[in-house]
């Protein structure tokens, strides 16, 4: 078993680290405080090829593997989880979904500009009354022959306002339950779409999160991905991979918090010696490091399985669950280690803690991950 990374993977990790530590760090606090969208960073990351990292070069992507994606997501998330969630949604939900399940025409028309980062995508599944219970879709896509008529509301949509391309999950045949759900590629500028105000969130405040309302929006049948009724399976399959991105994001939050805690403990003194020489602090850091290492190993295992073409749903659920729970604990301890300084924005760790909370909730709550894992183990449907 070889635990070493390739030269290319290390270069990608370093490129992401350099961008995060040189550029993202400069205005991350300001953007978080005032909920400013990171427009210039999204553009810069697109030019570097990060927005379509895993898409084949045939469709203008960078053709990188999932391990490289995990490494890049971790480095960016150490500094700015808002930027990394924008990247994650675009990469592992929207680009992945179209590349693996779309027709050639859909890939040529929609995937190319998304992979280049010229356009940003959004994934519209959650509704006001359907979060974890994704089968209870109330948004409808009525079959009108050669087009669908879309009506309903989606909420908590990352990139809701800045995306040009929406993947919308909606119910076409309610009598078939979840087998009557479809997924449609929708142009954000279609008549009948209105976007709600920017949500004032606890964390990841620099990414734009909105409700999106559809009123008699016409969507061509050519924009449906897969066969009639494929939408729920599409959502579940795509979220499996999306989980790896969010797991890597949680990993980055935890490892960023750990790095800052190590540095602070080596500098700050109490009772005549550095915090690092107090066993209570040193042991805390050891426990944080174990959780970070485990999170990383789970993320990389899930990524490796996906790259090998092997089933990875169980592994990605484990990675997402463990990394998110760890991130919440590690970032909270990081604030504790920093004491009063950990409570102010200037030292970054309070932001990491606020951001870690969301990783336990979105793209499948920790509870949902346990359902996925236990069903797999117990052979439950």
């Amino acid at each position: 078993m070889n635990f070493e990374f390739t030269e290319e993977q290390l270069m990608i990790q370093q490129a992401a680290r350099d961008y995060a530590q040189r550029e993202l760090i400069l205005d991350v606090i300001e953007r978080d405080t005032h909920s400013i969208y990171p427009e210039k960073h999204v553009k810069a990351l697109a030019e570097l090829g990060f927005m379509g990292m895993m898409v084949s070069p045939e469709y203008d992507g960078s053709g990188m593997d999932t391990i490289s994606y995990v490494l890049a997501m971790e480095e960016l998330s150490k500094v700015d989880a808002s930027v990394s969630v924008i990247m994650s949604v675009n990469n592992s939900l929207v680009c992945y979904g179209i590349e693996h399940f779309g027709t050639e025409e859909q890939k040529q028309k929609f995937l190319r500009p998304l992979a280049r980062g010229e356009k940003i995508g959004a994934f519209l599944l959650s509704e006001p009354e359907a979060g974890s219970d994704a089968t209870s879709q109330k948004t409808t896509a009525d079959d009108k022959g050669d087009y669908y008529l879309l009506n309903g509301t989606k909420n908590w949509i990352t990139n809701g306002n800045t995306a040009s391309t929406y993947l919308v999950i909606a119910q076409t045949h309610p009598e078939k339950g979840h087998k009557g759900i479809n997924v449609l590629i929708v142009d954000r500028n279609s008549p009948g779409i209105s976007v709600g105000p920017h949500e004032d969130k606890m964390g990841m405040r620099s990414s734009d999160t909105h409700s999106v309302m559809f009123t008699d929006v016409k969507v061509s049948k050519e924009n449906r991905i897969g066969e009639d009724g494929f939408g729920f399976k599409f959502a579940m399959k795509t979220l499996e991979g999306g989980r790896i991105g969010i797991a890597a994001q949680a990993l980055g939050l935890a490892s960023g918090a750990l790095e800052r805690s190590i540095k602070y403990a080596q500098e700050r003194k109490a009772f005549g010696k550095e915090l690092a020489k107090h066993q209570s602090v040193a042991f805390k850091i050891a426990e944080m490091a174990i959780k970070v290492e485990n999170s990383r190993n789970l993320c990389l295992k899930a990524a490796w399985l996906k790259d090998q073409g092997k089933p990875y749903g169980y592994a990605s659920a484990m990675a997402k669950y463990y990394a998110a729970e760890s991130a919440m604990w590690v970032t909270t301890e990081a604030v504790q280690i920093h004491g009063g300084y950990g409570y102010v924005k200037e030292y970054h760790v309070e932001r990491l803690m606020r951001e870690a909370k969301l990783t336990q909730i979105y793209e499948g709550t920790s509870e949902i991950q346990k359902i996925v894992i236990s069903r797999d183990l117990l052979h439950l449907k």
């Binding site: 030269e7 290319e8 270069m11 490129a15 090829g49 990292m53 960078s62």
Partner: protein, 249 residues
């Protein structure tokens, strides 16, 4: 016109330096290697100039003196945007042996501009660029903080005491560049990383050159001492310490 950028392979700047063999050698165990920061800025500027003047500049070719273990660093330079790379298979024993090897390799090339970082972050000799230009008998400009093209000719800004000089330089030439030559080092794109392995990396045989410098031993600088606080009511203590301990007055 081709631009040649001399790239030195140096330990990461956060490395904890250790010595071995009775402090006669540096212990490089576990060291992370990077492109010398000044050379990285030089390479960035070369790429910026090529993008801005595609007709005037042909290729950007990096040149490194080092063994095979320097190739990951060289490939990073290719990923950043160099077109080709040359590795001279030799150990860089000192600035003179490095400059001699680079000069020998450049005899087979047609350099327009040769860029050297002012110093390397490991040995800080500040010598390779100057020695290279003397060995090759080429014009050189030191302390270059900006490089531009006007009418397809290089114009440099050189930092001097009390001001700056603007100098028009004939090619071929050696430009010894310092901070300011580029503002932010270029980060390699995914495409650059993908194509780095396919770009030409030529290996030249090194020449045997006796170094001019022999290291007798290495010593770590003294640890920073504790800060001494002086009561502002007793400034004579400060004067006494500056005279007797610091010996600066």
């Amino acid at each position: 016109m081709n631009i040649y950028v001399c790239i030195s392979n140096v330990p990461d700047t956060t490395t904890r330096i250790k010595y071995k063999a009775g402090n006669q050698e540096v212990d490089y165990t576990g060291v992370q290697w990077i492109i010398n920061p000044w050379d990285e800025l030089a390479l960035t500027r070369a790429i910026e100039l090529k993008e801005a003047n595609p007709g005037a500049i042909g290729k950007i070719i990096t040149i490194t003196v080092g063994k095979a273990d320097t190739e990951p660093t060289i490939r990073k330079a290719l990923a950043i945007g160099a077109d080709e790379a040359i590795r001279i298979d030799a150990v860089p024993l000192d600035a003179y042996s490095t400059a001699s090897n680079i000069a020998e390799a450049l005899k087979q090339e047609e350099p327009g501009i040769i860029l050297c970082g002012v110093e390397s972050s490991d040995f800080n000799s500040w010598s390779v660029g100057g020695m290279l230009s003397e060995i090759m008998e080429l014009p050189s400009v030191s302390a270059v903080s900006s490089l531009n093209f006007e009418n397809n000719k290089p114009i440099v800004t050189r930092e001097i005491d009390g001001g700056k000089q603007q100098i028009s330089v004939p090619v071929p030439c050696v430009l010894i560049v310092q901070k300011g030559i580029a503002i932010v080092p270029r980060i390699p794109s995914m495409r650059g990383i993908m194509t780095a392995r396919t770009k030409p990396l030529k290996v030249n045989t090194g020449v045997s050159v006796d170094p001019l410098i022999k290291v007798s031993d290495y010593q770590a600088p003294p640890q920073k001492s504790v800060c001494k606080m002086i009561d502002p009511e007793h400034l004579e203590q400060l004067a006494d310490l500056l005279h007797t301990e610091a010996r600066v007055i």
